[in-house]
Symmetry: C2
Subunit: 175 residues, 2 copies
């Protein structure tokens, strides 16, 4: 069974983007080996908003170097041949993906997709790179909903003051 | 000059209390030496809501073993002889307190008082004990407002999975 890992950068007050979707507050740290981060995964799952934000920033899903699944009921799959558009039953699709062999699966974002898969009991780990800033508003790490207890695994500090906190999700309610 | 330190427990998603003010999610950890925490301070500053919550829980400001200042325009000082009610110019009062000699000053809560003193450039350090839970809603660590960059100092992990993150406030705008 492959792990589904929500791995994101967040401010100390729990936002993954600014009020207007800004990412300029995310400190650049040359000591962070993104290759190492990427090599954990061979598949990424993301929501439509997150995907469109990636395109808006001039990035391609191909840059991730892995299979990309995008949850959306509105995207036209023919327009986005580089990704697999999941238009229905995201939980079922992810559940099936987890049963295939391979590396861990990156739950890339955003918060809505995370909430949906968390509530379905499909998220195994949460890795938050805490940026040293209070953002004072923005897109929450997780949209409103029920509590999810976590189990702390470890942390890693970088010279920029980013600290990466790793947790397992404590409960796995059945879908 | 004495440091003003916002020292609180928060969920990973940045809430200091649940949607109905709950604190039941704060993991008890017998290895945390609260005496050591308390001994850093000889003065506490808090907002009225936080103070009334303390009283509602059957606790007395005397339990803190330090001078307590409560920001409120409505509390009757005569009814609360154990504390100093600050009914106007909280920033001025705190600024003056910081210039007196003594230990660090604990900015006990809540978020509104923190936001007000942060915006006045009076908060020196932020210490967040991150509880291993996603709360999914509640009272935010800091109410909406402008960004405040922080400087990461250190962290300390406890057996319960609580990790205490210590920061200095990077900018000190003048009031």
């Amino acid at each position: 069974m492959r792990d589904l890992v929500y791995s994101v950068a967040a401010s100390l007050d729990g936002y993954i983007a600014g009020p207007n979707g800004e990412f300029d507050w995310i400190v650049q740290d040359p000591t962070i080996d993104f290759g190492e981060v990427f090599r954990q995964f061979d598949t990424a799952v993301m929501g439509r908003v997150c995907f469109e934000e990636m395109l808006r920033l001039g990035r391609s899903p191909k840059d991730l170097g892995m299979k990309v699944f995008v949850a959306s009921t509105t995207l036209d799959p023919a327009q986005h041949p580089d990704v697999t558009v999941v238009s229905a039953d995201l939980a079922g699709t992810v559940s099936e993906l987890k049963r295939t062999s391979g590396k861990a699966i990156w739950l890339f974002g955003g918060g809505i997709t995370f909430r949906s898969l968390l509530d379905s009991g499909l998220v195994d780990r949460v890795e938050v790179s805490v940026i040293p800033i209070l953002l004072g508003g923005g897109v929450p790490l997780v949209p409103p909903g029920r509590r999810s207890p976590l189990i702390f695994k470890d942390s890693r500090t970088f010279p920029s003051g980013i600290i990466c906190l790793n947790y397992c999700v404590a409960t796995q309610p059945q879908i």
